[in-house]
Symmetry: C2
Subunit: 553 residues, 2 copies
C-alpha cells in the first residue's frame, strides 16, 4: 500500500487557504499513485483553534470546506482533520474529527475519544468526546486495507502522563478490536525538546502490543506559542520506525508500506539542533502569519539579543531584520562595539540611538517627586526608567516602520522577574522566553559551530552577563549562578516540585526558597509578557496558569 | 433547623489564613446555636486555585487543614469546600470536594460531579469528577435532617447553558433520590451583572421540581479577574427565596429554616449598583491580596480615570490613592483643571508632571530615523510615544513608592485597540477593562447620585472623549458612536455572533465589519493587558482565548 504522509503547515482560522493547499496536496498524492493520503489533526481549521471553534460561522465554513475537499477527492482516499458539528448541537456542539474522503464524498468521520486538558491543551473546553471506533476499507492493488482511525491523544493514551492513568478508555484497543489492519494517527503534537523519542517509543510500544502497523502524521509549523515539529512516521507491525518525514518543514512523504525506502527515514535532529530549528520555524511562522515581513530588535551586545538576531536572520533573511543599539551612560564600550560587529557580521541594518538625552529629561521631571520617596537612593525605579525608554524607542520604530518587535529575554530571567515589564519585555514575540540562560549559551555555541565561523561574537559569549542599568552591574549580583538557577527552575517550574523536594535533591535551602519566591512573586510580569515560543515541557504562558493575588509559599 | 451561611472571603493559596478564619466562623456559628454551618466551594484552598492544585505540597497542607478544622468542630456540623486528594492518585489525582465535619472528624466527603470547563472555568483541567451522591444526617432539635451535598455547577446542571444540554447526568436528581430532605450547594460563582436573578431562578426551579429546600452558599471577594458576589440564599420547599445574605461582603447569616426572619432577606442591588459594588470589592481585594496598600493612577481629566479614581477612593481610602496628571502640548486646559478639581473633591494627592521636555527629547532622538520612514508624516507612532512616556512615568512612581498602578481603560477601547500597549495599558489591575464606555458614563452618573453631589466633575461627564495625543483629536474621529460601538461589541464579543448575524439585527454592514476587524486584529494587545475585573458574561482575559497568528474574518 502506498501512503502519502501530508505533513502540512496549517494557519489557524485560514479555512480557505488551508483547504486550497489540502486539495493541492491530495492532487500530488494521487499523481504519485498513493492509495491513501493523511493530513494532520484539524488541518482544515488549524490547531489550536481556541475560542474560534465557538464561532458557528467558521465551523460551518470548515464543514463546507470538507465537503469541497471530498468532492475533489477521486482516485485516492484522504483523511483530513476538521471540526465536525454535532447534528443535534449536543454537548459542546462540535467534535475534533477526521473525515475519510473517497470517490467524491465523506465516507466516514471519526471523533477523537481522548481530549487532552492539561498543559497547553484545553480540548474538553471545546469538544465533545467521541466514543466509537471507525475502521474504513481502503482499496489497494492487493485488496482492501482496513484503516482504523485515531487522533493524537487517543494514542498517547495516558500511559506516560505524569505516571498515572488519566483516561478510563483505550481507543487504540477498541479500534484494533474493530478490525483495523492499519492504524492511522493524525496529530497536532507540539514540539518539546526530547519529545520525539517519547512519541515514537510510546506509539511503537502500542503497535508491538497489537501487532498492527501505524502511520502517524503530525502537524508542522508555528501557531502562536506552539511549534509543531512534524517528523511524521510509519511504524511497521514489529514496532520498528521504518519511515520518518523531516522535522520542522512541510513535506508530502510517500511511502510504500511493504518496502519503505531507506531515504524515507530522515534523522530527527539532536536536542540543541531541534531547539534551533524549532525556534527558527516558530519565529518565521509567527511573523508571517501575523502579516509582517520585517522585525526590529534591540541589540545590547549581550548574548540573548545576539542569538535572537541570528535566529531572525535565518528565519526571515537579513534584509528583514533591523537592529537598534541604545547605549546609556552605564553601557560599556564593548556593548555598542559588539552590536556593530554582530550587525555587520550578519548584514543586518543597525540604528544607534543613545538614550542619554531622554534619560536626563526623565530624571529631571521626576526628581522633585522622587526626592520625597521613603528611600530616595537610586534603585529599581531608576533602572526601570532606562529599560522603558528603550522599550518606547523600539515600539516607536516598530509602529513607524511596520516591523514586528522581537523580545529577547530568556526563560531564566522571565522566571525570576529579572527583566523590566514595559521595558525589555516589550514586543510581539519573545523568541527565547522558554529557553533557559544556560541553553541560550549552548545555542550560541551551536550556531557558531553550524555556521563554521564566529557568527555570534566570541566576546558576547565570553563576557559576564549584565543588564547595564547601573555602574558595574552584573547578573550574578542579583541571581544565583545560572547553572544553579536553571537547575532549580527546571525542578520548580517544569516538574512542579516543592521547595522541600528540591532541597532533598541536594540544593541549598535558602537559595531554593529565594528562587521559588522570585518565581511566585513575578507572575504579574509574566501575565503581561508577549507570546513566547514553547520548547520545554512547561513554558510560561498557556501551559502554566497561576493566580496573581494569592498567598502561598 | 438553624443554618449558618458562612459567606466567606477566601484568599487563593492562603491555606493557613483561610483555615484560621473558617475555624473562627465555625465557633461563631456554634455560639449562635446553629446545627449546620456551610462554607463556599474550595474555602480552604481558595478559588480559582488554577495550577496551584498541581502542587502536591499545597494539596497535602489543605488536606491537613481539613483534618484540623474537623478536629475543632464540635457541637455543630460544618460543610467545607476543599481539594480532596484521590487515595490512589487516579485520574487528575484530586477532586473538588466538600468535607462534612462533625464531632471532631470528617464524616463524609462529596466530590463535585459536574466540572465546568468554559468561559473562565477550567475544572476538567484540574479535577477528576465525582459520581456518587452524598447524604448525611445532621442532628437537630427535631431529629436528623438528611443533608444532600452539591457543589456549584452540579446545580446549574446545564439547563440554561447556551441553550443546550452539556452534561448527561443530573447530580441534583441523584442526591434527592438518595434521600436528601435538605439540599446544600456550595459555590464559587463569579459575579456577572444580572446573574443573581438567573442563579435564583435556575436553583428555585429545581427546588420546585423536587420539593426539597436548598441552602446555597457562595464565595465572596475578589481573586484576580473574578469577583465573587456572595448573596448566598435559602430556598424553601415551594421554591421561594426566603433568606439572602448581603452581596459583595463577608457575612455569617444565621437562619432558622422553619421561620426565617424578614430581615434575613437582603435586597440584591440593581444592575449599576451591583457593578459599582463589585468593582470596589474586586479592586480592594486585588490590591490587598497582592500585598499593597496604595495605588497610583493617571488622571487625564477624562471620564475613565475619574471613575477609576472614585472606585479606588471608595475601596482603599483617599489617603491610599495618588493621582498623576501628565499634560502635553496637546492637552486641553480643562484636562489638568478637571484632574485638579477631581483630586481636591476626593482629597486625593495629585502630582503634576508635564511631559513636554521628555517628549521633545524623544522627538529629537528619533527624528533622523523617522525621516526615512515610507510615510514620515506624524501618525500613530508619534501618538504612542506620548502614551508610553506617561506609562513610564507612572511605573516609575509605582516602583519608587511601592504603589500598585491602576489602569483606567474601558472595555470598548480595549476591544477595538483604541489604547496604547505599554502606554495607557500599563498597570497591575485594569479596573474598568470589562466595563463598556456607555456603562462607564452610567457608572459616573450613578456615583454622583449615590454621593448626593458632583463627585465626578460634571464637565468630565459632559465633554467629548479624546485621547489628546494630537490636535483636536476626538474618539469619534476614529470610532463609531459609543452607543453603536457598544451594541455591536456586545453581540460580537459577549454573544459570539458572526458579522452576518449582527447585520441581520439591523446594523450597518460596513460598520460591523470594521468593528469586528478591529477586535480581531487587536488580540495581541489584549494578551499583554493587565488583569481586568470581570463584570460581563464575556470578559477579555481567561474567559476568551483567541489565537493571534491567525487568519479569519
Amino acid at each position: 500500500m502506498k501512503i502519502a504522509l501530508a505533513q502540512f503547515n496549517a494557519t489557524v482560522g485560514d479555512i480557505d487557504g488551508n483547504t486550497a493547499r489540502i486539495i493541492e496536496m491530495i492532487g500530488a498524492a494521487r499523481e504519485a499513485s498513493a492509495h491513501l493520503v493523511v493530513f494532520p489533526e484539524l488541518a482544515v481549521f488549524g490547531y489550536p483553534p481556541k475560542d474560534l471553534v465557538r464561532r458557528k460561522d467558521l465551523v460551518a465554513r470548515n464543514a463546507d470546506a470538507v465537503a469541497s475537499i471530498a468532492a475533489s477527492c477521486r482516485g485516492v482516499t484522504a483523511i483530513v482533520g476538521y471540526v465536525e458539528p454535532d447534528p443535534a448541537g449536543a454537548g459542546k456542539g462540535v467534535y475534533n474529527a477526521a473525515a475519510v474522503c473517497a470517490d467524491g464524498a465523506v465516507v466516514a468521520s471519526y471523533r477523537k475519544v481522548l481530549l487532552p486538558t492539561y498543559d497547553v491543551f484545553d480540548e474538553t473546553r471545546y469538544f465533545s468526546a467521541g466514543a466509537a471506533p471507525v475502521v474504513v476499507p481502503v482499496a489497494t492493488d492487493d485488496g482492501p486495507v482496513h484503516v482504523g482511525m485515531t487522533i493524537c491523544e487517543d494514542f498517547w493514551n495516558d500511559r506516560q502522563f505524569e505516571g498515572r492513568r488519566v483516561y478510563g478508555v483505550d481507543p487504540v484497543k477498541a479500534t484494533v478490536e474493530a478490525g483495523a489492519s492499519l492504524l492511522v494517527n493524525i496529530g497536532a503534537s507540539p514540539f518539546v525538546a526530547g519529545k520525539q523519542a517519547d512519541r515514537e517509543a510510546i506509539f511503537a510500544d502500542q503497535v508491538r502490543e497489537c501487532g498492527v502497523p501505524l502511520v502517524s502524521v503530525n502537524l508542522v509549523g508555528g501557531n502562536d506559542d506552539l511549534i509543531f515539529d512534524g517528523a511524521s512516521f510509519l511504524v511497521d507491525s514489529t514496532g520498528a520506525v521504518v519511515a520518518r518525514a523531516d522535522a520542522f518543514g512541510e513535506e508530502l512523504l510517500i511511502v510504500e508500506t511493504s518496502r519503505p525506502k531507506p531515504n524515507a527515514l530522515r534523522v530527527y535532529p539532536d536536542r540543541i539542533e531541534s531547539i534551533h530549528r524549532g525556534l527558527v520555524l516558530g519565529l518565521r511562522d509567527y511573523v508571517h502569519k501575523c502579516g509582517f515581513a520585517d522585525v526590529v530588535l534591540g541589540l545590547s551586545g549581550g548574548i540573548d539579543s545576539a542569538v535572537t538576531a541570528a535566529l531572525a536572520v535565518e528565519a526571515l533573511g537579513a534584509d528583514h531584520v533591523c537592529g537598534v543599539a541604545m547605549p546609556s551612560r552605564y553601557s560599556s564600550d564593548h556593548s555598542v562595539e559588539d552590536a556593530r560587529w554582530l550587525a555587520e557580521n550578519m548584514s543586518v541594518r543597525l540604528t544607534v540611538i543613545p538614550i542619554e538625552d531622554v534619560h536626563r529629561a526623565f530624571e529631571s521631571v521626576v526628581s522633585s517627586e522622587f526626592a520625597t520617596a521613603p528611600d530616595p537612593a537610586p534603585g529599581i525605579a531608576e533602572e526601570n526608567i532606562q529599560a522603558r525608554i528603550r522599550g518606547n524607542l523600539l515600539m516607536a520604530l516598530s509602529n513607524k516602520f511596520g516591523r514586528l518587535l522581537l523580545t529577547t529575554g530568556n526563560k531564566s530571567e522571565l522566571a525570576v522577574g529579572y527583566c523590566t515589564i514595559y521595558g525589555d519585555m516589550c514586543g510581539g514575540l519573545a523568541v527565547l522566553s522558554d529557553v533557559p540562560k544556560t541553553t541560550v549559551y549552548e545555542l550560541a555555541r551551536h550556531l557558531n559551530v553550524s555556521a563554521g565561523r564566529p557568527w555570534i561574537p566570541q566576546r558576547t559569549i565570553d563576557k559576564e552577563p549584565s543588564a547595564e542599568l547601573r555602574d558595574d552591574q552584573r547578573d550574578q549580583d542579583s541571581l544565583p549562578p545560572y547553572e544553579q538557577l536553571d537547575a532549580i527552575l527546571e525542578l520548580y517550574v517544569e516538574r512542579d516540585l516543592s521547595v522541600d523536594e528540591i532541597v532533598a535533591g541536594g540544593f541549598d535551602r535558602a537559595t531554593v526558597q529565594r528562587v521559588a519566591r522570585m518565581v511566585d512573586l513575578n507572575e504579574y510580569k509574566r501575565q503581561q509578557a508577549p507570546t513566547g515560543l514553547k520548547v520545554t515541557s512547561r513554558a510560561f504562558g498557556t501551559g502554566r496558569r497561576m493566580p496573581i493575588a494569592a498567598k502561598y509559599r
